[in-house]
């Protein structure tokens, strides 16, 4: 059973001659344990796709099914609950809260989410991401790479089924970018989650199980050679 399923999903912005079909009719499946890359030029519809999958944007037509829940049939309040439970976001800009230390960023999630990580699991997460020494630091005291790792810790906290990353390496140099991809790959495999990474950086596709191409709102699977 696929963890994520898109059936005939389409998204248009605007109406009449100003209408932009950001995402043409798309079917999509993702299984647990898959690391998927979506590459394509700027403006091709990658973010549109990702925000629809994340339940932040409603498709114009079609349905999005996450872990057997059809998002289209839910109101914003219920979708927000699903996001909290099932989805971890990693964004281009760091999604850290400026006035919380790294440790407290996770503690906040601990407060709003029910069914949490044990202490040992949390320690493991710190260790996996190499941020054990950073827990008392504020985001402003972290380097770009450290910030992104903390953000990933946040996305991974309490094991969501799907991790969505929009250009997670955009603000990082090559070495850091590879590190982050390595991390995502390990987490995906170890925790059996599904990770979708949107990027225009083709060097990162080597880490992924499947690579899709996005061009003008059309998503096509690229065979890996």
């Amino acid at each position: 059973m696929a963890i994520l399923e898109l059936n005939k999903v389409k998204k248009s912005f605007g109406t009449g001659h100003k209408q932009v079909d950001a995402l043409k009719e798309t079917d999509f499946l993702a299984e647990r344990g898959e690391l998927i890359a979506i590459i394509g030029p700027s403006g091709s519809g990658k973010s549109t796709f990702l925000t629809i999958v994340g339940g932040l944007l409603s498709p114009s037509t079609g349905e999005v099914i996450i872990n057997k829940e059809n998002l289209s049939s839910l109101n914003e309040k219920k979708r927000s609950k699903i996001r909290l439970k099932e989805i971890g976001f990693i964004l281009q800009a760091s999604n850290l809260i400026p006035f919380l230390t790294v440790e407290k960023q996770l503690k906040l999630l601990d407060k709003v989410k029910k069914g949490n990580m044990t202490k040992a699991e949390l320690e493991q997460l710190y260790k996996d991401l190499g941020i054990s020494d950073l827990r008392d630091k504020y985001p402003s005291d972290l380097s770009g790479g450290e910030r992104q790792r903390a953000a990933i810790a946040k996305a991974l906290y309490s094991n969501p089924s799907i991790i969505l990353a929009d250009e997670p390496t955009a603000s990082l140099d090559s070495d850091r970018a590879y590190e982050v991809m390595e991390l995502l790959k390990n987490e995906t495999k170890n925790k059996n989650t599904t990770t979708i990474v949107v990027t225009h950086d083709t060097r990162l596709v080597g880490y992924c199980d499947k690579v899709y191409n996005m061009t003008d709102g059309i998503l096509t699977l690229k065979s890996k050679e």
Binding site: K77, R83, F99
Partner: protein, 355 residues
């Protein structure tokens, strides 16, 4: 609370600023309320002390004791559980050293408005008075001979009593004989039946008098009609209510600015699935923390200031009133946070993601 408190801890300066403003506003509110109570006391203290139901004045006096004029015979016709006749005049009294505006009440020693002395003795001879202990602070003592502005007669303070100010002047209680001497001089005898009103305690106000020329004025009504009393209260209360509005507006603007600065942060949290309810509660909790701290400091500052004030400043703190005002200030601040809550609810998480 978690978000609210951690943000305050990290951004101390900006939150100290808003707390400081709330503190100043509440300081002002508490102080004005103290002033209002103090001024009220100056006017009504002696009347409150009588613990009377009503006072009977002439119908044409327009509820003014000074304007009311009747006789002891009128008092005879009054039906009440307890009655006490009262004659009143204003004068300037001096002990050779200090001069002070006073109200003189002529009363009967065996009636219920007779004050109990806190120092010295009750009056027994003509010319003796029991004075308000407010005069002690002005330098008057037991045994002082008082010259009056209106007459050659002198009065002697034989005792003091507490809570005895009327319409902003300390009271001298005297026997009716003494009073008549002071007020009418040579013609005291002719006027010995004249009084200004009758103070009563009764369960049956309606039937206190059948005389159409007399009017039964309930104690509260009587006090409200003291010259300047109501106007003074309205002015001070208006200032206090205005301060409530000001603090709501200040808090609203301040929190709104803070919220607008944090829109993308709220958006990210909403994208992660943190609910509007949680974020709104956090803003409310923050306001509550700041307002409570501000009001508490304002309260303490008010009390500290109170102990340093010269006794001439009529400030008197009524704790139940201050408690109510404190709670209102906190509620009003929270009302000011509603704007921010509305803003947060309207934030589109998608915009924050900046797809």
């Amino acid at each position: 609370m978690f978000l609210a408190w951690n943000e305050i801890k990290k951004n101390k300066l900006r939150f100290i600023l808003i707390t400081g403003v709330l503190m100043l506003v509440s300081y002002l509110v508490f102080f004005l309320s103290g002033l209002a109570t103090g001024l009220q006391d100056m006017n009504r203290e002696s009347v409150d002390k009588w613990n009377a139901t009503a006072i009977i004045l002439t119908a044409e006096s327009d509820k003014s004791l000074y304007q009311s004029s009747m006789t002891l015979d009128d008092a005879e016709s009054v039906k009440a559980k307890e009655i006490a006749v009262i004659a009143q005049m204003s004068a300037i009294a001096g002990n050779g050293d200090k001069k002070k505006n006073v109200t003189i009440f002529g009363i009967k020693e065996d009636e219920f408005i007779m004050p109990s002395v806190t120092e010295g003795n009750v009056f027994s001879e003509v010319g003796e008075v029991i004075a308000s202990d407010a005069l002690i602070e002005e330098g008057f003592k037991v045994g002082d001979k008082l010259q009056l502005s209106s007459t050659e007669e002198t009065l002697t303070i034989v005792g003091f009593t507490d809570d005895a100010r009327f319409n902003a002047a300390p009271v001298l209680y005297s026997d009716l004989n003494t009073f008549d001497k002071v007020k009418y001089g040579e013609s005291a005898d002719v006027n010995k039946n004249n009084i200004n009103g009758v103070v009563i305690k009764t369960d049956d106000l309606k039937n206190a008098t059948e005389n159409d020329a007399l009017e039964v004025v309930e104690t509260e009504t009587f006090i409200r009609n003291l010259p300047g009393y109501t106007e003074q209260n309205l002015t001070l209360n208006f200032m206090i209510y205005f301060l409530f509005v000001i603090s709501a507006v200040i808090v609203a603007i301040f929190l709104y600015v803070l919220t607008v600065q944090k829109i993308s942060m709220f958006g990210i949290m909403k994208a992660q699935g943190i609910s509007n309810v949680y974020l709104s509660k956090s803003v409310i909790a923050q306001t509550f923390i700041l307002a409570t701290i501000g009001v508490a400091i304002g309260f303490v500052l008010t009390l500290i200031t109170g102990t340093f004030l010269p006794s001439a400043v009529p400030v008197s703190f009524d704790f139940p009133t201050m408690l109510i005002y404190g709670v209102v200030l906190i509620l009003v601040a929270i009302a000011g946070a509603v704007f921010s809550v509305l803003t947060i609810v309207k934030i589109d998480p998608l915009k924050a993601i900046g797809g």
